[in-house]
Symmetry: C2
C-alpha cells in the first residue's frame, strides 16, 4: 500500500484522522475539493461539526487509556433522547415488533390493542409487509390518522389527508419544500427568511440549493420572541438584492427554547399575508412545552381562526416528527408535513418529486401512526402509555427549570427560561483576551470556548456561532436531555469551567 | 368551503382527481407551477408515473363496483417483491423484532443466533435503542460487517470500513454522490453518462441537479451489452457542449436484465481511466443472476485485478441495497455505498453533507447488517435461512426463463434473455396507425399501448419511453415478480392484448 506518493497535500479538517488505504492524492483526480460542487462546500452543520468529531475522538482516546482530567464525555450537543437513556414507549415498540415479525401475533404476551394496531398497519402495507414500498406520499391509513390527529389538536379545524405527506423525519420535508420553492438567479434568486439563532438544517439546505439566506433576529431580551419590526427590517433589506418568498419559523424554538404567544403567531401570519410570503412552520416540539402560562398554538389553527381572508389565501406548510416530544424516536426517521393552500398543480409536482425516492422508510411511517393515534382510555395499553408519557414530559420540565436556574447562578452567563423544546441557549460573556486569542486562531470565540471546555471537562456543547447570533454576542446550545444526575454534574462543570476560563483570560 | 373561485384553472395531469378543500387558484399565490423550481418540473419518474396513477384509480373503481373487462389489476411496474407475495426472510425479521422490543430477548421463542445478533446491534446503538440517531455515516459495526462482506464477495480484495457509507436505499447514495460531482454552467456544466435504457432515478436526479444527461445506448442486438465504440461516440459528442465527468453503469441491468461479462467491465474501467471519468456502479442486483454462463463481477474486484495502475487511480463508487436480491426489503430503505480512491478532503465534505440529514433510518441499517452477515453453517438459523434464500432465487430464475420464453412466442414481441435483475424489457412492434394515433394524442406510442393494455386487461407495465430507447423502437418493462400462476396469466393476457392491438391498428 504505497499509493500516497504523488502530490501529497495534508488534509484539511478534523475528519481524516486516518488515511485510507486507497487514498490517492493526485491532481488528476476527477473529484477533488477544487472540482466538487461549490454549494456543498458552503454547507455547514454545527450540530455534528468539529466539536462533536473531536468528542468522538476523545471517547476513543479514553477507551485506549489516554489520561484526561475527566473519565467520560457528556454529550449535550444533539436532541437525541434515547442516546441519553430515555426509554422507548412500550406500546410503540410492541407494535413495531409485531409488524416486523407477524408470527408474534399468535403469541399471548402482547396486549390486544397492540395486536390490532399491528394488524391494521400490516393490512395497509403491500403484501402485508413492512418490506413493501408504500405510496410515495405515505401509507393511506397513516395519513388519515395524521389528519384526525391534526383536527383534534386544532379544535376541529378540518384536515384533508390529501394534504398530508409522510417524510423521513422533519428534515426531509423541509428540504423537499425548499427544493420546490427555490429558483432564480441574481436579484431574482429566492430568499428564505430564517430566524437567527436558527437550527442549522436551514442554512445547510439553503447553501446546498444555492438560495439566499435572509436572517431575522429573535429578541433575546424578550425571551427570544419574534418582533414584527425586525421582520420588516429584514425583509426590506433582502428585497434590495433577492426575491424573498419564504418565511421559516421554529416553534417551540430550536436552539432557543422559546414558545411563541398566540399574538405573535397572529402577527406573523398577517405579515406573511401582507408581504406575500410562503410560511414554513417547524413544529416538531409541539408536545415539549414546560413553562407556566405557555401553550403550543399551531400555525394552522391560528390561521383558521383569523378567518377566511387568511385561511383561504396564506400558503403554509407545517412539519412534525417522531424524533422529539415525549417519544424521541430519532433513529426511525419518521415525520409528516401538512400543506395548506397549495396549488394543485404544485401538489402534483410534489408527489412526482417524492416518488423519485420511492417512499419514506415504512417502520418510521408505522411509528408516526402510533404517535398520532396513541392508546385511548379503556384500551389495555392506555394506563402504561400515559404513565410513560407523563413521566418523560414531567422530567423534561424539571430539567428545563434546573438548567435555567443553575446557569443563571454563574456570573457571566445569562439564560432565558427554557419554555419549551429541549435546549437552553445561554448568553456567555467572554473576556476580550479570549476573543483575541480565538480570532488569532481563526476560530469563532465561542467555538474556542466550547472546544476548550470539551478538552478540559469532557462536556460536548455546540457554540452559538453554529446557529447564528447577533454580532459581538456569544452563546452555546446545550440539551436538557442527560439524566438528572448527569445534568447536574454537567451544569456544575460548566459553572466551574466558565469561572476558570474567565479568570484565565481576564 | 367555497374558496375555489378566483382565477380557476383546471389542473393538468392525472393526480388531481379530487380538488382539495383548501385549494385556492390565485395568481397571487407564492408557489405556483409558474414560480416553482423549473428543475423540479423537468423531473420525470415513469416507474411511478401516469400509468401507475391510473392503475391506482382503476383499483379504486373496481372496489367501488365499476364494471371492467377484468377483476383485478396486476402490477408488474415496480421491483417490489413483498408486495407480490414474497415472504420475508425469517431470521431478518426475528432480529428486527428483537431490536424493536428488547423485552423479547427474555423469551424462549427466538433462536440464540437471532438473539445474539440483536444484542450486538443494540450495543452499537446509542442508549441501546434503534430510536437513537446513529453516526451519519452509519453504525460502526454495520460498516465493518459490510466491509467484511465485500472482501468475501471479492475474493479478498481489501475493504476499509471508512470507505463504506450506509444510505437510505441505493437511490439516496446515488443522489448524494451526484450532488458532490455536479457543478459548472454552460459548456463546463458536469455531464453524466448513463445507459439508455436507464433506471429513471438517474435522469430524475440529473434534472433536479441541473446536470447534463449524456446518453450511451446499450446494444439490444447483443443482449443489451455495453459497446466501447458507443461509449466513445457518446463521450465525444458530449464534450462538444458539456464537461462529462461521470460514467454510470447498472449491472445486472435495470430495466434490461443483462449481466455484464468480465471482459466488458474491464473495457469500461480502462475507458474510464483513459478518459478521466468517475465510475458509479449500481450493483443492487448482485445476487440476481439466473442465466447459465453468467456471473456477477463487481466493478471493484475487476478494478483491483487490473493492477495498481488502475486500482490506485480510478475513482469508483458502488451501491448496494436491502431492496432487491433475495430479501426484497424495499420498505426499510437500507443500503450502502463503498467509495474507492476518493480524495480525503472530499470524504470530509461527504461526511458533512450526510450529517445534515442526521442518519439513515436505523432499522434499515440493522437490516443491511443482517444481509451482509447472514447466518453461517452451524448456527441455529442457517438451515432455514438457506432454504428460504435458495427457494426465492430459484423461483426468480424460473420466472425469468418463463417470461422470456412466453414473450418470444408472440409475433411482434422480441425479448432478450433475462440474465439477471428482476425485469424483462421486450421490444414491441407497433403498427404505424397506432403510432400516428398516439402522436395525435401527444403520447409516446408505447405509453399509448401500455395505457390501453391497462384499461383493457388490468395489467400495469411501464412503457419503454420512461427509460429511454433508440428512436423508432418501442418497449415495455415488466417485472418477473408476480407469483408464477399470476405471471402466467399476465403473460397470456399480454400475448392476447398484443395480438388484438396489432389487428386493431393494422
Amino acid at each position: 500500500h504505497s499509493h500516497q506518493k504523488r502530490n501529497y497535500k495534508p488534509p484539511r479538517g478534523l475528519v481524516q484522522e486516518k488515511m485510507t488505504e486507497n487514498a490517492v492524492f493526485s491532481q488528476n483526480m476527477v473529484l477533488t475539493i477544487d472540482t466538487m460542487n461549490p454549494n456543498v462546500k458552503k454547507v455547514e452543520y454545527a450540530v455534528r461539526g468539529p466539536i462533536v468529531q473531536r468528542a468522538v475522538q476523545i471517547e476513543k482516546e479514553l477507551r485506549e487509556g489516554v489520561k484526561k482530567p475527566f473519565t467520560e464525555v457528556i454529550k449535550a450537543n444533539i436532541g437525541d433522547a434515547h442516546a441519553m437513556g430515555q426509554q422507548p414507549i412500550t406500546f410503540f415498540r410492541q407494535v413495531l415488533a409485531l409488524c416486523s415479525y407477524p408470527e408474534l401475533l399468535k403469541d399471548n404476551m402482547f396486549p390486544e390493542d397492540a395486536k390490532s394496531r399491528a394488524r391494521r398497519i400490516l393490512q395497509a402495507c403491500g403484501g402485508s409487509s413492512l418490506g413493501a414500498y408504500s405510496a410515495s406520499q405515505g401509507i393511506d391509513c397513516v395519513r388519515q390518522d395524521v389528519a384526525r390527529y391534526i383536527e383534534r389538536r386544532d379544535g376541529g379545524v378540518p384536515c384533508d389527508p390529501d394534504n398530508v405527506y409522510l417524510t423521513s423525519g422533519a428534515s426531509d420535508g423541509i428540504v423537499t419544500m425548499l427544493k420546490l420553492l427555490v429558483c432564480g438567479e441574481g436579484a431574482s434568486k429566492t430568499g428564505v427568511m430564517i430566524s437567527i439563532p436558527q437550527y442549522p438544517l436551514y442554512s445547510a439546505a439553503l447553501a446546498e440549493l444555492g438560495a439566499v439566506q435572509v436572517n431575522y433576529y429573535l429578541n433575546e431580551e424578550k425571551c427570544w420572541s419574534m418582533d414584527l419590526s425586525e421582520l420588516e427590517r429584514s425583509l426590506a433589506e433582502a428585497r434590495k438584492h433577492c426575491n424573498p418568498k419564504v418565511l421559516c419559523i421554529i416553534n417551540p424554538g430550536n436552539p432557543t427554547g422559546q414558545v411563541q404567544s398566540r399574538q405573535c403567531i397572529e402577527d406573523v401570519i398577517r405579515f406573511a399575508a401582507k408581504e406575500h410570503l410562503f410560511l414554513m412552520a417547524d413544529e416538531v416540539y409541539q408536545d415539549n412545552v414546560y413553562a407556566e402560562g405557555c401553550q403550543f398554538h399551531s400555525f394552522k389553527k391560528v390561521l383558521f381562526e383569523l378567518g377566511p381572508q387568511y385561511s383561504n389565501t396564506v400558503e403554509l406548510v407545517s412539519f412534525h416528527s417522531t424524533s422529539k416530544c415525549y417519544m424521541g424516536e430519532c433513529g426511525f426517521r419518521g415525520g409528516y408535513m401538512e400543506v395548506i393552500n397549495m396549488d394543485p398543480e404544485v401538489k402534483a409536482q410534489l408527489i412526482k418529486l417524492v416518488s423519485v425516492r420511492l417512499c419514506p422508510a415504512v417502520p418510521g411511517q408505522a411509528l408516526m401512526d402510533m404517535v398520532v393515534n396513541s392508546p385511548q382510555p379503556g384500551e389495555p395499553s392506555y394506563t402504561t402509555f400515559m404513565k410513560e408519557r407523563t413521566a418523560i414530559l414531567s422530567l423534561l420540565a424539571e430539567k428545563a427549570k434546573l438548567t435555567e436556574e443553575i446557569l443563571n447562578t454563574v456570573p457571566g452567563i445569562t439564560c432565558n427560561p427554557v419554555q419549551g423544546a429541549m435546549y437552553s441557549f445561554p448568553n456567555i460573556s467572554l473576556p476580550q483576551k479570549a476573543i483575541k486569542e480565538a480570532k488569532a486562531l481563526g476560530q469563532a470565540p465561542d467555538m474556542f470556548y466550547c472546544m476548550k471546555m470539551l478538552e478540559e471537562t469532557g462536556i460536548c456543547l455546540v457554540p452559538g456561532s453554529g446557529f447564528g447570533q447577533k454580532d459581538g454576542t456569544y452563546h452555546f446550545r446545550m440539551t436538557i436531555l442527560p439524566p438528572t444526575d448527569k445534568l447536574k454534574l454537567l451544569l456544575a462543570k460548566v459553572k466551574e469551567f466558565h469561572q476558570k476560563f474567565t479568570r484565565q483570560y481576564s
